[in-house]
């Protein structure tokens, strides 16, 4: 089983880059031929391109969720997203890209797509490379949640 772990965000927009921070730390912990760890500043069609060919995708990103504390980490299956905007305003959303790909007969879409979402409140983002305190504290939680997601499918999984 092939899994891709993708940190999504913008590394120069402070808290928005939290997914990239998590992915970078996971790279230090994981060395497994069946697990690819990558980062992306993209959404919709381009994001889907990166996921094709894997059985499972774990996307780590900052999310905005009403009534959730800043820095909380949530596991959200893609299928339960109510509205999902594209990362890129000049693109469609990931859900829409998937719907379209399915309609056009694409067979390489991962069967399971899980979002590890780190709740963010501060708007709008400002330029910067560091995380704010609450978001930085969420990084270990997001790492742990990603690892337990991997362990679910691979009982023998070990850290490097």
């Amino acid at each position: 089983m092939k899994t891709i772990v993708l940190g999504v965000g913008n590394s120069i927009l402070s808290d928005d880059g939290v997914g990239i921070h998590v992915a970078n730390q996971l790279k230090q912990k994981i060395n497994n031929p069946n697990i690819t760890i990558d980062e992306a500043l993209t959404g919709g069609m381009s994001l889907l391109d990166l996921l094709l060919g894997y059985d499972k995708a774990i996307i780590i990103d900052a999310v905005k969720i009403d009534n959730v504390e800043e820095g909380e980490v949530k596991r959200i299956p893609l299928s339960t997203f109510s509205t999902m905007h594209s990362c890129n305003p000049h693109d469609v959303s990931l859900s829409e890209a998937i719907q379209m790909a399915e309609k056009l007969g694409e067979t390489r879409i991962p069967k399971e797509i899980i979002i590890i979402g780190i709740a963010m409140k501060k708007l709008p983002c400002v330029f910067g490379e560091n995380l704010s305190e609450k978001i930085a504290m969420a990084v270990p939680k997001a790492i742990e949640m990603t690892l337990s997601e991997i362990r679910k499918d691979d009982l023998k999984f070990k850290l490097r």
């Binding site: 992306a40 500043l41 381009s46 890129n88 469609v92 959303s93 829409e96």
Partner: protein, 486 residues
């Protein structure tokens, strides 16, 4: 139901928020679109190594990374006083054409096209790319996907990464092309030419042969007689990567042509208290408020701005389409906003033809792709982003670190015109305080034509983009609120 967004742009406040102000009679007096802007970039870039700027600026926004990358690289060429070898310029332009191919395809088929292909009065849930595929057929859907991917692949081969290139260096590029890559690009480019021709034919069949659409395109609410701006080559033909900036008037006559490095002599910025965006205008004409006509300094950029600012296209098939465009729409300049969509397809054809010209150029496999840099100083770089003229301006200190950075992005250049287009579209559907149901659609069509780079320009599931319109009465009290997908 909870609202969850996972993108960096829609996390910004104010996406697609439009305020419409009515007069005492209940007709539209004014309307404002709030465009979110990221602040603090100048401070962020201060003290950074200049050669990192092409990577950093390509992350400013997910929409035009390639355009920022090369506007930045060109600013560095100038700042380090180095002229890249001709092969490097050709490689950059080739990559730039790949970017136009995927960007313009995406806009026509996914974002703007649904308004026409599915129809402006179709329910919002149908006016998206799935609706386009339903109407045009699955086979066409596959072609759309394929050629958008070709554009990305061409960009990726040259840039190292498809979305965020790493190839631009002051004085040239870091990577050339080998023979196998040339063959691959040539094959994809050829297919893209055919697809661009097909797309124009589709536009012909679906839009131009439909009298209702043509009437809509030519109708008053979608007409704006502004100046136009774009880069042109030495023959005054449209160029995306290099050349001089040319401004033409409402009749298509040259108003001014200047070097990018003189932009601050020609362009000025106007500030309104309700928007972070600075509205650019022509200095010699002046800011006269949100008005069109020859006495107002507002201009338009992007596909329509570029076509109007030029005398033609530099490749044969696109030039033929260029002539047909003006013959069909009544000569120069074309001032109808919805013609942006047609202009975009003509540019798509040009980009594909230009790929073929460049890839067949024997110099494209040259290994002389970089010249040594000189002493650090000041530099200005201008390119045409898919959505309009983009200017990067850096001042470097003696160690080659950024001292000052100023950017004027395409949507800023179009901001004045976008506001007017929204106001005019609203005027058509609000009479005596009565708000017609089609308001959101009509307003959306008006600004989508520009392909502006802010969050609300996207179609999202379940089928529309997030948009909020607040209508205020003559006493500035909230009169009506319309929302969708928020």
């Amino acid at each position: 139901m909870k609202t969850i967004t996972i993108d960096p742009i829609t996390r910004l406040e104010g996406h697609g928020k439009i305020s419409i102000f009515l007069d005492a009679k209940g007709d539209v007096a004014n309307s404002y679109l709030q465009i979110p802007e990221l602040r603090g970039f100048e401070r962020f870039s201060q003290g950074r190594r200049a050669e990192d700027m092409p990577q950093i600026t390509s992350r400013i926004c997910g929409v035009c990374p390639v355009a920022h990358h090369f506007a930045s690289t060109k600013a560095l060429d100038a700042a380090f006083n180095v002229d890249p070898p001709s092969a490097a310029k050709k490689l950059r332009e080739l990559m730039y054409c790949g970017y136009y191919i995927y960007d313009h395809i995406l806009h026509f088929y996914y974002l703007g096209g649904p308004d026409f292909v599915v129809g402006p009065d179709a329910p919002a849930a149908k006016r998206n790319v799935l609706g386009v595929i339903e109407k045009a057929g699955i086979e066409i859907g596959k072609e759309v996907i394929k050629h958008r991917a070709y554009g990305q692949k061409i960009t990726g081969i040259l840039g190292g990464k498809a979305t965020h290139p790493v190839c631009g260096l002051p004085g040239g590029v870091s990577k050339g092309l080998d023979k196998d890559e040339v063959k691959e690009i040539e094959k994809m480019g050829k297919s893209c030419v055919d697809f661009a021709k097909f797309s124009l034919k589709l536009f012909d069949d679906i839009v131009l042969k439909n009298k209702d659409y043509v009437d809509l395109i030519l109708s008053d609410p979608y007409t704006l007689k502004t100046y136009n701006m774009g880069l042109v080559d030495k023959n005054n033909k449209v160029n995306f990567y290099d050349g001089k900036i040319r401004v033409t008037d409402q009749k298509g006559r040259e108003h001014i042509k200047f070097d990018g490095k003189d932009y601050f002599k020609v362009i000025n910025e106007h500030v309104e208290e309700w928007s972070y965006i600075k509205f650019t205008y022509l200095k010699d004409i002046g800011w006269k408020g949100f008005k069109d006509g020859k006495d107002s300094g507002i201009y338009r950029v992007g596909p329509l701005g570029r076509l109007n600012a030029a005398d033609g296209m530099a490749t044969p098939l696109a030039d033929k389409e260029y002539k047909r465009f003006y013959e069909t729409l009544g000569g120069k300049a074309v001032n109808t906003t919805l013609a942006f969509h047609w202009a975009r397809l003509i540019e798509l054809l040009y980009a594909t033809e230009r790929v073929m010209e460049l890839i067949k150029d024997p110099e494209i496999t040259s290994t002389k792709i970089r010249n040594p840099v000189g002493k650090p100083g000041e530099g200005i770089g201008v390119t045409e982003a898919a959505r309009g003229t983009l200017i990067h301006h850096y001042k470097l200190d003696k160690n080659g670190l950024i001292d000052k950075a100023n950017l004027i992005v395409a949507t800023t250049n179009n901001a004045g015109a976008i506001n007017m287009s929204i106001r005019d579209a609203a005027k058509g559907v609000i009479k005596k305080g009565k708000v017609n149901d089609g308001l959101l659609n009509k307003v959306e069509m008006a600004f989508r034509a520009y392909d502006p780079c802010f969050a609300c320009a996207t179609h999202t599931l379940p089928g529309g983009m997030p948009i909020e319109v607040n209508i205020y009465d003559n006493d500035k009290k909230l009169y009506k609120k319309l929302r969708r997908n928020l």
